[in-house]
């Protein structure tokens, strides 16, 4: 029998320097020549859940108060909850330290496999984003974290802006898993002039903890 392995939809050309086996994923912790930023990190292995219920007002998820207004997000204890609409919340485990499993209630669906998930962070990331989308990440009236559902490189995406201040700026983006190859190509192409490089999960962990 072949070894069972989970394959991420994201493939970087960079050579991994350090990897970690986690739930059958080969998670790259660090790549060679990651540069000084901005960085693109594959988070497709991080658990992601869809929560849909007609009565979200009563609900907490992972002990988290769910955001009430569509477009708002909350990041607490490594769980990122984003309100999509009246009945739907998207949940990302960005911490990755503990093995987060999906709560048993029927209104949850595991959507980890549905999407490609990447983090894009560093000083000039919004200059990269504006090459790919008309979404306004730097709107002064919006306080991070906040959530967009809209096109990025012409593909419907969910994007959470976690920070929009200088070097700490960063977003987490998901789109249909099938678009992984082309989405990564278009982001890296757009980011080439700014020195965007693929980076390992360690870089992301360091960044998210700094927020």
């Amino acid at each position: 029998m072949k070894e069972i392995q989970r394959i991420s939809p994201v493939v970087f050309k960079s050579s991994p320097l350090k990897t970690e086996k986690r739930d059958n994923w080969d998670v790259v912790m660090e790549y060679k020549e990651e540069g000084d930023g901005p960085f693109l990190v594959d988070l497709s292995h991080r658990p992601r859940f869809d929560l849909q219920d007609s009565n979200l007002a009563d609900k907490k998820s992972f002990e988290l108060e769910l955001p009430e207004t569509p477009g708002n997000s909350v990041l607490e204890n490594g769980i990122l909850a984003s309100r999509m609409n009246r009945t739907q919340v998207s949940l990302f485990d960005l911490d990755g330290q503990d093995d987060v499993s999906m709560p048993g209630e029927s209104y949850y669906t595991d959507v980890t496999e549905s999407t490609v998930c990447v983090a894009l962070f560093g000083k000039e990331i919004f200059l990269i984003c504006e090459k790919l989308t008309a979404l306004d990440f730097t709107d002064p009236q919006r306080k991070a974290p906040f959530f967009f559902q809209g096109p990025f490189s012409h593909v419907p995406c969910q994007i959470v802006t976690l920070n929009k201040e200088g070097e700490s700026s960063g977003i987490v983006l998901t789109c249909s898993r099938g678009y992984g190859r082309d989405m990564i190509d278009s982001i890296l192409h757009a980011g080439e002039e700014f020195g965007l490089k693929p980076a390992g999960e360690s870089r992301f962990t360091h960044w998210i903890k700094s927020l």
């Binding site: 029998m1 070894e3 392995q5 059958n24 669906t109 979404l135």
Partner: protein, 973 residues
């Protein structure tokens, strides 16, 4: 190359840095900062090209690319606007629209044939006798158009795009634009400032006149630019033209890249809360005989040639102007060494007294109320005739340069494109903004202002108004800014003269299209009495200059010629792009965004030939034999694997999940049993079948269903739409990408699968149409279904996408002893066609209903019509004999299969072929067709017509379906 000034603070060239370029096959040199046009001019090139219709010589005129005079072929790209294109080392520049050379054009004789080509001649002449016109038309088409391009030409260069959001977008980086930007930025707003030239400064930038307190205009422009640069919240885009303004303050533009940029040109799309239009003025061309002869140029062109590019535009000049800028330019150029033979000013009075005094001091001949009437010189200017405005007195002077301008014209395109309106203003002679578009404000010279302080004050006011739109400014502040503006000099009186006192046979109103004043008169006399009609009839303003030259002259002349008592006539509509650019710039980067399945890479390694199918890229073949014979035979006789991951997959859950399914599926979904799959279809309100798939029950109020690949993106919205009034409590999750699908098919499929799973796969334990879930190696959760789309024993395995490769490899390993093979989408297409299983979109089109394709058995007629989408229409269609029916057919006389889409005909079209192939399983050509009901009887002969088949027809006979394994034993084995 001529000597260049290098002492002027306004220069934008660096004479120490030489750039080589090739012109007419010979190496020439320009300097860094030169445009192609200024470099050519420095190399004594005066004739840049020839005009469209008459092949008249053309040269520098506006320096802003307002006409096609200086369009040339640069590095193989035709119609490059050389006045706006910066010179790069190694450029290869060629003339265009010449037969011979620009200097000696063999088609130059056409200039004398103008009498044969009156306005709209192609509508009038050469139409009788009728047979002449096709010949004439070909010749006209050959002659039409500027520049040549091959149909397979590939555009070189790098193109990019950016999508920006801002509070305020300022169009125009002159003094009013910069002031508006600063004002809005100081309110804490995000500002974008667009300037079409490569630097900020606009009308102040190249001038030495006094701004205030001894500071000159150039210095003031520099100061403002520095202030702008110091504001973090102003993003400046120089060498960026705004080309469109749309509803909701969307502004589009394009930027020309600098040497260090990663793009040659990039498209900009800016969403702003408020827009300031501060694009200033261009000059209104003075119309006189031969007013476009090389050597005739506008004031700004002549002055900027010296002040910006360091070269005198001629040796001896005559000025014929209607604006103080002309006086200022004459003085400056005189000081730089240009001999001024005479200045003629259209205006009888109203000149700036200080400028007049200086002209007198310098002893420059000056005539008020005089105007140029004719430029002399066969190819370039040698002399000029001038006359008094009434034409009573005239004289002729030697010169090689005529600086000519009737006055100014506001650049109002950004306002009118956004549906703002203009109104003629008798004081300025301008068409001024009347009704501004919502949240758009005009500033600067566009309002007729000329005084430097007034220009800036109007910028401040517009900046505050924009800030008000962004809820960042008080009414009181705006009131104060208005008062400040009102206390300063207002718009100056403008010159009203449109044409010199000439007949106009060679007086050009539109250079691009070689349209003369005489042509306009001809059009008016034919009854085309408004500019929009005249524009079409004479082509005035339809050239690459986007109407820059005829601009406001056309309506002014039309009003004058018709002796209209008031100028109610409006300028013609301008449309985006207001400035011409490359289609490649609009195309932008063009990232190809396709979806791939988890098996993409492995299937490529296995020799998969991929095709774009909808949003997906799929392996359609696994060899270069596109009949797929081996793939098909392998599935029929052995076992094959297909990657079906593109299938739409959904979870629906919640108390009303079943209600929602009942609404959109035609079958009775209460009959979905746990452990079984139910095949059903969805229709639209017309009963037309739009999708099909299977449904399984996963638990209480919890279902999993599939759709076709093509419809997956619309399914969630489709169901929500059809349940929009019911208030039902259900949730949908699109799992299409979450799960990959492996279709393991063929008589040996069971033997392969049982090697990797621990469950009983016997027909009794896991029968046809059954559904099971299990884990492979206690790790990989699999949803498995016994289906038979290809007509063989088949297992459809739904596997988490990340595990797909592992499971695929396991199956391949397990199937090694059977020589398991891949099969692609085309093989699947043939296999299912032999079984007469339909693919929606292939065996159906927009009008095909459920009954037409023989799926009526899926429809549960006992369900309430009102609760099933399409049921009412299906009831109505049930007895309709006029509808097309899906039939199976075999070809006769061993002929090949017709192509998909071929028509079924007799004396008219009676249907069409949906899918037909030469079947290796059946050793004959078979297919399915949608035909009129009367042709659907078994045994009916079908006459099949293919494109370009002439009298050769393919004949088929309607037969029973399915063709292969009609009892379905093989898929149930």
């Amino acid at each position: 190359m001529m000597n260049r000034f290098n002492h002027l603070p306004t220069l934008k060239i660096d004479t120490t840095k030489k750039l080589a370029f090739i012109y007419k096959g010979k190496k020439h040199y320009g300097v860094e900062g030169d445009t192609v046009a200024s470099a050519l001019f420095a190399n004594k090139v005066r004739i840049f090209g020839r005009s469209l219709k008459y092949h008249r010589p053309r040269g520098l005129y506006s320096l802003d690319g307002e006409c096609s005079n200086t369009c040339m072929e640069v590095d193989g790209i035709p119609n490059v606007r050389c006045e706006n294109t910066l010179l790069k080392d190694g450029m290869v520049i060629k003339e265009q629209n010449v037969k011979g050379s620009a200097e000696k054009d063999y088609l130059g004789f056409l200039d004398k044939m103008d009498w044969m080509m009156p306005a709209g001649f192609y509508y009038n002449v050469m139409h009788k006798p009728a047979k002449v016109w096709p010949i004439a038309m070909k010749q006209i088409r050959k002659a039409a158009g500027l520049g040549k391009i091959s149909p397979d030409y590939e555009m070189p260069g790098k193109f990019d795009e950016i999508f920006l959001n801002t509070d305020v977008c300022v169009i125009g980086g002159g003094p009013s634009g910069m002031t508006a930007a600063l004002c809005a930025a100081q309110k804490g707003l995000r500002v974008i400032l667009m300037e079409s030239r490569p630097w900020l400064g606009g009308f102040f930038e190249y001038r030495s006149g006094e701004y205030k307190d001894g500071q000159n205009l150039h210095e003031r422009a520099q100061d403002l630019a520095k202030e702008v640069a110091a504001q973090d919240n102003i993003r400046v885009f120089t060498h960026t033209s705004a080309v469109g303004t749309y509803n909701n303050n969307l502004v589009t533009g394009f930027q020309i890249g600098k040497k260090e940029d990663v793009f040659d040109e990039r498209y900009l799309e800016i969403r702003a809360k408020s827009v300031v239009a501060a694009a200033g003025c261009i000059e209104r061309p003075l119309i006189f005989d031969h007013n476009e002869r090389p050597g005739v140029m506008q004031i700004g062109c002549a002055l900027r040639m010296a002040k910006t590019y360091g070269q005198l535009p001629g040796k001896k000049a005559v000025f014929s102007i209607g604006h103080d800028l002309g006086l200022e330019a004459a003085l400056e150029l005189h000081d730089l060494g240009l001999t001024i033979a005479c200045i003629t000013d259209i205006r009888e009075d109203g000149q700036d007294a200080d400028l007049l005094r200086k002209i007198e001091d310098k002893k420059i001949p000056f005539l008020k109320g005089w105007v140029a009437t004719k430029a002399h010189g066969a190819k370039i200017v040698k002399k000029i005739s001038i006359s008094s405005l009434d034409g009573q007195v005239s004289k002729t002077l030697d010169c090689d340069l005529i600086v000519a301008s009737a006055g100014m014209t506001p650049v109002t395109g950004h306002i009118t494109v956004a549906q703002g309106t203009l109104k003629y203003d008798n004081h300025t002679g301008f068409f001024l903004p009347d009704k501004m578009p919502e949240k758009m404000h005009a500033a600067g010279r566009i309002l007729g202002l000329n005084d430097p302080l007034s220009i800036e004050a109007s910028g401040k006011l517009a900046g505050l108004q924009a800030a008000f739109d962004c809820e960042n400014c008080s009414i009181q502040e705006i009131g104060e800014a208005k008062k400040a503006l009102e206390s300063l000099p207002g718009p100056v009186r403008g010159s009203k003269l449109v044409t010199a006192p000439v007949k106009g046979r060679k007086s050009f109103i539109c250079f691009d299209e070689d349209a003369t004043i005489k042509n306009i008169k001809q059009a008016i006399e034919k009854g085309f009495d408004v500019p929009e009609l005249i524009k079409r009839f004479t082509a005035t303003g339809l050239g690459p200059g986007q109407g820059g030259i005829p601009g406001h002259n056309l309506p002014l002349y039309v009003a004058k010629y018709q002796a209209l008592s008031d100028i109610s006539i409006r300028p013609t509509n301008v449309r985006p792009p207001l400035v011409p650019t490359l289609i490649s710039t609009y195309a932008g980067v063009n990232h190809k965004m396709f979806k791939i399945t988890p098996m993409d890479e492995m299937q490529k390694k296995d020799g998969g030939v991929f095709r774009n199918i909808g949003v997906w890229q799929r392996a359609r073949y696994f060899s270069n034999d596109f009949t797929c014979r081996k793939e098909i035979e392998n599935v029929r006789n052995n076992v094959g694997m297909l990657d079906g991951s593109t299938l739409g997959k959904f979870r629906i859950h919640g108390p009303d999940a079943l209600n929602a399914l009942q609404r959109v599926f035609v079958s009775d979904m209460t009959k979905v049993k746990q452990g079984r799959v139910k095949y059903s279809a969805m229709c639209n309100d017309d009963g037309c079948v739009i999708d099909d798939g299977i449904v399984v029950k996963q638990g209480e109020n919890d279902y999993y269903f599939t759709t076709s690949s093509g419809r997956a993106g619309q399914t969630v919205e489709w169901i929500r739409y059809h349940a929009r009034y019911d208030g039902w409590d259900f949730a949908l999750v699109n799992l299409t990408d979450s799960l990959g699908v492996i279709n393991l098919s063929g008589p040996n499929a069971r033997k392969v699968l049982e090697k990797i799973v621990d469950i009983d796969l016997s027909n009794e334990a896991f029968g046809f149409s059954e559904y099971k879930t299990f884990d492979i190696q206690d790790t990989v959760p699999v949803r498995a279904m016994r289906l038979g789309f290809v007509g063989e024993l088949s297992y459809e395995l739904h596997v988490p996408s990340s595990y797909m490769k592992s499971v695929w490899l396991m199956l391949r390993e397990a199937g090694k002893e059977f020589n398991i093979q891949n099969f692609g989408v085309e093989a699947q297409n043939v296999l299912r066609m032999e079984k007469c299983h339909i693919i929606l979109g292939q065996e159906s089109e927009q009008r095909t209903n459920l009954l037409d394709v023989g799926l009526g058995f899926l429809w549960d007629r006992k369900k309430s019509d009102a609760k099933t989408v399409g049921a009412v229409a299906l009831h109505q269609a049930e007895g309709d004999q006029t509808r097309l029916k899906l039939v199976g057919f075999k070809t006769q006389n061993n002929s090949r299969a017709p192509r998909d889409g071929a028509l079924v005909v007799d004396d008219k079209v009676r249907g069409y072929i949906c899918t037909a192939r030469d079947s290796f399983s059946l050793n004959e050509a078979v297919g399915m067709a949608l035909v009129e009901a009367e042709l659907s009887k078994i045994g009916t002969r079908l006459e099949i017509y293919e494109d370009e088949c002439g009298d050769d027809r393919i004949y088929g006979k309607v037969v029973a379906m399915p063709f292969y394994d009609p009892e379905g034993k093989r898929m149930k084995m």
